[in-house]
Point group: C3
Chain length 257, copies 3
């Protein structure tokens, strides 16, 4: 893909964002793009290919956003970078003259998306390479569930440090105080800390992506707790909380249950 881009636009600088997206994991790519792309200069062209549907009739897109031009499959990979209707313009790629002459059905990254990115870098307008569309595929993060006594969130990403990034942001938790308890399986932590070295065992904090994450500083929360993407994170006030099973063994022995 880099060679194809440079063949068309030798002057561009290619910047790698990550080499560590697990195969076929569109959600992991979405999270990586959400954390990285808003920090790039607005004129950049961002190409992202996690594309299990390559060769099917899934569309290819150029999307114009405030974050620059996005190029990739229409499978939701750019979901969190795209605002609501009216605030972006999308084009379904349908002009093969901007693609490689022979297009495989297994590697559109090389055969369609890289050439399209190269032509964008040369100044070709998106509208020349595709037809406007208003409907695009969006992924949905699971939404927090609000119960009578607790909020149930879930882990949407595990980073390379093993930190558990959740679908919860502080604004999702109106009653959030230093007494709020975060429970994963049978382990819990109370209150939000400000930084990783604020504690030793499991702690909760607002990570650099703006989302609440659970971490074991100097360790690996995912491995320590044996959890991953999809795991439920329960949030409740410690005022009316029943102690979780293991973390408060001493209390339970004392008969409070």
């Amino acid at each position: 893909m880099k060679g194809v881009v440079l063949s068309l636009a030798p002057h561009v600088q290619i910047v790698d964002i990550t080499h560590d997206i697990p195969p076929q994991d569109i959600a992991a790519a979405t999270f990586a793009l959400e954390t990285a792309i808003p920090h790039f200069p607005p004129g950049c062209i961002h190409v992202a290919i996690v594309d299990p549907g390559v060769g099917t009739d899934r569309a290819g897109l150029i999307i114009e956003t405030a974050h620059g031009l996005l190029v990739g499959p229409d499978n939701g990979i750019f979901t969190t970078l795209i605002p609501w209707e009216g605030q972006f313009r999308a084009f379904r790629l349908d002009q093969p003259r901007f693609w490689r002459p022979e297009v495989s059905r297994t590697f559109h990254g090389r055969d369609i998306f890289a050439p399209v990115a190269g032509h964008l870098a040369r100044g070709v307008a998106p509208a020349e390479m595709g037809s406007p569309v208003t409907q695009i595929v969006r992924l949905t993060w699971p939404l927090p569930e609000y119960g009578a006594s607790e909020v149930r969130g879930s882990v949407i990403h595990v980073d390379r440090f093993g930190n558990l990034i959740t679908n919860l942001r502080p604004q999702d938790l109106p009653g959030l105080t230093h007494l709020t308890e975060f429970i994963v399986r049978e382990t819990s932590t109370v209150g939000l800390q400000t930084h990783y070295q604020a504690g030793n065992g499991l702690l909760a904090l607002v990570g650099s992506s703006g989302r609440i994450e659970l971490a074991v500083p100097g360790g690996n929360a995912a491995r320590t707790l044996g959890v991953g993407v999809g795991t439920t994170v329960r949030v409740r006030s410690t005022a009316d909380a029943k102690p979780p099973k293991q973390a408060h063994e001493a209390e339970r022995q004392g008969g409070t249950l």
Copy 2:
């Protein structure tokens, strides 16, 4: 190596192709280079160092090809990029004045090949840095074996998705039809599909490198089948095929054997 190149030629753009070649695996590097380098602009300088023989008397080379200038050890790493005699020019590196003043015997990438690439980028001619040679080391992929009732190929590469890339191309299988069966161990698939999501279990298709590969879409064929580089892939017409052991258990129980 990047620092050494930039010290000599600060204007070049360095592009990483891969960081994932297993230690000492020249064949894996050869495959990565075969799939990437032909897509770069012809004026590029390609440096590749997988070099278990560093410090022995194996030569270092500059090779002029239609794909640009190749720089690295003479151990076959560029095999599939080099056409037959008369269509390339190779130079054995023997002019230490173009190397780092102190050359280690454990890291010629930094001490010889990176400086040579830097000088090439500055415009020094290959012939100034080495003497012409006509014989270079070539790796040989195993060739398909043609038997009375089947063709036997083998897996030459496993990519990061676990797809099994073989030494077979469609032109190697003259009788290839939608009834052709591909057998790995005791699992098989019939016919070539056009893209990954054309099936659920094991399928065969022509991959983006032009070679026939076996894949488990959304899964990992290498792990699922417990196979890897060197595994035999048998190809035969289903007309005269005996069913493999597990895939056709029902038939066999029905007494067709």
Copy 3:
């Protein structure tokens, strides 16, 4: 981080050195920087972030050295690139107007160090962005211990080939000869070899970093011996050496002990 740098200084070329530092492993980063940075042109800006103390009161630094400008946390990550007092100038970052407007307490790489690097690339002087300091945190490699009959070193790094890089350099071993024995656990090798393919089993050589390393060519010394960072390496003359337990079993049975 790359996006933040390019937003401030679109003209810079960003070069990745490594993506493989284990989480929180400052010593591994120090070793990677020691081997790479001296080979870059002197005008470069080097940013390195392995930062378990992010969000605490650990300082952030710009350090001016002969190797260029170094930017990162004051946790010893640049230790081996910094000569003794008087030969470098360091500035503790304390001018938030050069940082991102909102500074997280979990990702100073993006919020402080990348913007500072971007401003350096635009020509802002280090002294504008921080106050001079003379004391900075330094890591100490364990020093070789000199005993009556042997020198005890230790493994300070394991590279991706499994080679064991030690804190010993030839100049640390005044009596070094072709009879000197290097012992790891119960395996040993005699003499320094010049290159990897000089032997089959465990061998010792001076690696490209100038340090003595132990390698199993074509294999992985760390895995073969079951050792890692911190393992003791004993060095002694074979003249007065007692044979290690397994390597000289035959001799011992013959009664030489």
